[in-house]
């Protein structure tokens, strides 16, 4: 399928669904409080543009900080694991515990410990908790996947552990890390929005909170507008990370070859 058609097909479907939605809601007089028509959602978006954009920016910036923290924390710990079997044996089970415990259940505790006055930090911590594990797990796997013959070759030429790490293990792990970041980007956004909802009561001002607030006020059209913005944000993060992956890998990695063919 050619490129134009690949974009046009889902776009046409989306427009058709929106048109049908608008028509059905008007034709059957569905109350706006149950399901607002797209036109009302657009009006709510335009009417609340400033506050929604401020919320979007808040959610985006907190998500980016959480992603950066997940990246740094995950990679740093993976490097430690790759260098020390002892550290891995000791720490890995706790990383798993952190991963499998539902973050929404820990959120209130973090909120109490860190405090409502540092709400952004609360959000970052919670989002980091669910976003960092894929980075850790994948990067650890990647660092261990270096070609054994190449490791031998490095040793033959007297390479230091540092040289083996930076010149062999890290490039090997890069595709694994980038794949994990795409997963983590989505998870970080989920973490931030979940945490905003848990925090509630106006301390957080991101899109998650806007949805709760609009729901409480029965401003359903505004709820939809905030929801649509969240989707757009999620898609943007996904595409940005896919672009980064392509930029870093397309010259040499097999995954990029398949996409061309």
């Amino acid at each position: 399928m050619n490129r134009a058609l690949r974009i046009a097909t889902p776009l046409a479907l989306g427009i058709a669904v929106l048109a049908a939605w608008e028509f059905l809601v008007r034709h059957y007089y569905v109350p706006t409080i149950v399901l607002p028509p797209p036109s009302a959602i657009w009006a709510a978006f335009v009417g609340n543009f400033a506050s929604l954009m401020a919320s979007l920016w808040t959610t985006l910036s907190v998500t980016l900080v959480a992603m950066a923290a997940a990246f740094l924390g995950g990679v740093a710990l993976a490097v430690v694991f790759s260098q020390s079997r002892l550290a891995e044996t000791a720490l890995y089970p706790y990383a798993v515990v952190l991963q499998v415990t539902p973050v929404i259940a820990i959120a209130p505790l973090i909120l109490i410990w860190v405090g409502f006055d540092r709400i952004d930090l609360v959000l970052v911590i919670i989002a980091w908790m669910i976003a960092f594990f894929p980075v850790l797990a994948n990067t650890t796997l990647g660092l261990k996947s270096a070609d054994h013959n190449l490791i031998d070759l490095f040793r033959l030429y007297g390479a230091s552990r540092w040289q083996i790490l930076t010149r062999l293990q890290m490039p090997t792990a890069l595709p694994y890390l980038l794949g994990a970041m795409r997963v983590s980007g989505g998870l970080a956004l989920i973490g931030v929005v979940t945490a905003e909802m848990v925090a509630g009561s106006g301390a957080a001002t991101g899109l998650g909170w806007r949805i709760i607030e609009a729901g409480n006020r029965l401003e359903i059209a505004k709820m939809f507008a905030a929801l649509a913005l969240l989707s757009v944000l999620g898609i943007a993060i996904f595409f940005a990370l896919s672009l980064l992956e392509w930029a870093l890998l397309h010259r040499w990695h097999e995954s990029a070859v398949k996409k061309q063919g």
């Binding site: 030429y157 007297g158 097999e254 070859v257």
Partner: protein
């Protein structure tokens, strides 16, 4: 001639209890082209890794009468870094040794040109054919100007024509540099064509079953493969290999 290295009573038993090498004694002269031939799993590769210092023997010792020389290693697979282009791969040994950037680049370029890859310096491994990847691998080994070249079935995965071309190029390069080569293969014809000496090994645990000195002409080409001398030499190697397999 002076011995470049000697193996004295080398054995290797792996952690799982597998005995890869029985007591192996071997002496390799400087400038010699020696092939190790034997059935799969007879410890040829293990012996090569012990010589390279990548594996410690369980007992016995490797001695270097004139000091341990610079060693190049070529694996069965090209074993290239996919994220680096041909030049980046060829200069790896020099980079690891801390050779200055400009000099490393110049030496790697020369090594690539010598294996016939001039103009492919910026190509990534995935864009190269199997034979060309193996040439990069050889260029990488040559870039560090080794005295001893260890090759572990380097051409086993290549088609017949590519293999023959690489055999000839390898002989030329080895002669030009006065290299000592230890070449592991399970091909009787390849070992006969390339070697001054063929060492036949028994099935696991590998020992030296026969040590056959050949006297190939200095300059060999496709015609040599058709001569009675070649057939006779290959026959001797083949017979020794069969005897070794039956004995094991």
């Amino acid at each position: 001639m002076a011995a470049l290295l000697t193996l004295k009573g080398i054995t290797k038993r792996f952690d799982g209890g597998v005995e890869a090498l029985g007591a192996v004694d071997l002496r390799v002269e400087a400038g010699e082209f020696v092939s190790l031939v034997g059935p799969s799993g007879c410890g040829k590769s293990t012996a090569l890794r012990v010589v390279a210092g990548l594996l410690a023997p369980t007992s016995g010792e490797v001695t270097w009468p004139e000091g341990k020389p610079e060693i190049g290693f070529v694996f069965q697979e090209p074993t290239l870094m996919p994220w680096a282009d041909a030049l980046g791969n060829a200069r790896l040994p020099l980079d690891l040794k801390g050779v200055a950037r400009g000099e490393a680049e110049a030496r790697a370029m020369r090594a690539l040109a010598r294996v016939g890859l001039h103009g492919f310096e910026r190509a990534f491994p995935r864009a190269l054919s199997g034979g060309m990847k193996m040439r990069v691998s050889i260029a990488r080994a040559l870039a560090a100007a080794p005295k001893l070249l260890l090759m572990d079935e380097p051409f086993a995965a290549l088609d017949e024509l590519t293999r023959a071309a690489l055999n000839d190029d390898l002989l030329t390069l080895a002669r030009e540099d006065g290299l000592t080569v230890i070449f592991v293969t399970h091909s009787v014809y390849e070992s006969t064509y390339l070697s001054d000496r063929v060492v036949v090994m028994t099935p696991r645990p590998g020992r030296v079953a026969a040590d056959i000195a050949l006297s190939p002409p200095k300059l060999r080409d496709a015609g040599y493969r058709l001569t009675p001398e070649f057939a006779e030499a290959a026959g001797r190697v083949s017979a020794a290999l069969r005897a070794a397999m039956e004995a094991g």
